[in-house]
């Protein structure tokens, strides 16, 4: 198989395309002679070694080309711009039609309310999988007003939805800085160090308690983890839609977190039971029996109430602080 990389020496290749080295080391072929061309290196690879690492000689170059093409796609950020996502209603669990047409646009926050099991997850799955009337709910999802190219359904690198779930853990044993740097490198951004610094700074501005770049991610508090992931998704994730599962009312500035995502032109969907969060959105979807039972825009009267609720919340926060400081909770809080 002949391709554009065949005649380059490995020195040249790794110098011009630093991430090419990753491909070979990931396969367990790290100690390759530097002065030979790629084609002759592959031709000279020991059969025994190929058997050990589990790849066939004739497939190696093709796989490498596919990998390089994928990297190029990532680097040039060839993401088709999502200017709107439209959801056309299907039916609930009993087969009653939903009768809605919902437009979701970048920079908007839509809240999702409803009891457990009311169909919130399936709604998100419909969006994520670009349902075309073929999912259990019969809903249809349009991108920029038209039926999407279905090849996109299974293009995991172009996933529409990034999810920030509540029971999220870090399983990597890395510092916050190493962790974000690793993510930035896998996203092939031009300057991983700069974007890492930005994300850590943003996360610290959202978190109630400060952490340093050297703090292990596994040692971050709930609020700090949440803040770090929100900043990370805002700056690094290519998914146009961000789904947040409830932002706890402790250790994170929720209003700023939402505006950070909206400023990055994300379509924000937030599942919540919290009245303040629910009223922060432009609209909310109310779920019952596996379907959207109604859609409500946040009214001026609700916005006025939101201000009141925030004042109540601030008073409760003051009580929390006082408790922590060992004060008596007496007098006028």
């Amino acid at each position: 198989m002949i391709n554009q990389y065949s005649d380059m020496t490995l020195d040249q290749l790794f110098c011009e395309h630093p991430h090419a080295r990753e491909f070979f080391s990931a396969l367990g072929l790290s100690a390759l002679p530097a002065g030979q061309t790629l084609a002759s290196t592959v031709a000279a690879l020991d059969e025994e070694l190929l058997l050990d690492v589990g790849i066939e000689r004739q497939e190696l170059l093709g796989q490498f080309c596919d990998y390089m093409a994928g990297v190029e796609r990532l680097r040039s950020q060839q993401q088709a711009l999502v200017a709107s996502v439209t959801v056309l209603g299907g039916h609930d669990k009993s087969g009653n039609p939903e009768n809605f047409r919902l437009e979701l646009r970048p920079g908007e926050v839509t809240c999702i309310v409803g009891p457990t099991g009311s169909g919130k997850s399936r709604f998100l799955a419909d969006i994520e999988w670009l349902a075309q009337g073929d999912s259990p709910t019969g809903r249809t999802v349009l991108i920029n007003g038209a039926a999407p190219d279905l090849a996109r359904r299974y293009a995991v690198e172009q996933k529409l939805v990034a999810q920030l779930s509540q029971n999220m853990n870090f399983v990597m044993d890395l510092s916050a800085e190493e962790f974000i740097q690793l993510h930035a490198e896998s996203r092939m951004v031009a300057d991983p160090a700069a974007i890492t610094a930005t994300i850590l700074e943003l996360a610290n501005s959202l978190a109630g308690e400060q952490f340093t770049p050297a703090t292990p991610v596994t040692a971050l508090s709930g609020g700090q983890s949440r803040a770090l992931m929100i900043a990370d998704v805002a700056c690094l994730s290519s998914s146009p839609i961000v789904l947040i599962d409830e932002i706890e009312n402790a250790g994170i500035d929720r209003k700023r977190a939402l505006s950070l995502l909206a400023d990055q032109d994300k379509i924000v969907l937030m599942a919540t039971h919290d009245p303040i969060l629910a009223l922060m959105g432009q609209q909310r979807l109310i779920f019952k029996n596996g379907g959207v039972s109604s859609i409500r825009s946040t009214s001026p009267a609700e916005r006025a109430n939101l201000t009141l609720f925030e004042a109540m919340d601030a008073r409760l926060t003051a009580v929390r602080h006082a408790l922590r400081n060992g004060e008596e909770i007496a007098g006028n809080f």
Partner: protein
Amino acid sequence: MRLITVAGPPSSGKTAIICKTAEALQADGVSVGVIKFDCLSSGDQALYERRGIPARTGLSGNLCPDHFYVSNIEECLDWGLQSGFDLLISESAGLCNRCAPHIKDVCAVCVVDNLSGVETPRKIGPMLKMADIVVITKGDIVSQAEREVFVHRIRQVNSSAVIIHVNGLTGQGGHELGRLLRDAAAVDSLQGKLLRFSMPAALCSYCLGQRRIGADFQMGNVKKMELG
């Protein structure tokens, strides 16, 4: 009938995602049977049958489960054909990282889980590198950043597979995986078909039951480490 081979490391969630996917397929009127290969014991057949999914179990005992599977898959296919399934899924035992159960022109699925760490994709051989579909499980318990890094690491070793996240507990993604499996090629016979890659070689005295340690007892296909 379509045949699907599902393989993956131990406890990666193979049984859970097959259950969820089979349920979604059955709800769409597709009949599914499962062959479960395991090493020592398996409660999975009961697990499948409780969900109304016909299943058979093969225990490899002291043989390599991968070799055992390939020696039995033809008869399993016949069982599937006689039972009249639309789709037969063969589930491997939790295999070693050098196992290579995939067959050319037969839809091959590899299941890996997010909790196993981002180095895992580099540690798995042909089972992951030559799969048509890579299913990632347990994504709900790790961060979005880790999910994205994990996908990237899989891409590095398998540039062409469809990568899909399925939640083995809630079944999210199972319906979509089912749609992919329905499009697999029909297989009516494995006569003359080839494995996609050679299985781990096994031809030394220890394969034949030797237990004593020492150079005198190492016969046949023996490889030595270089310790510098």
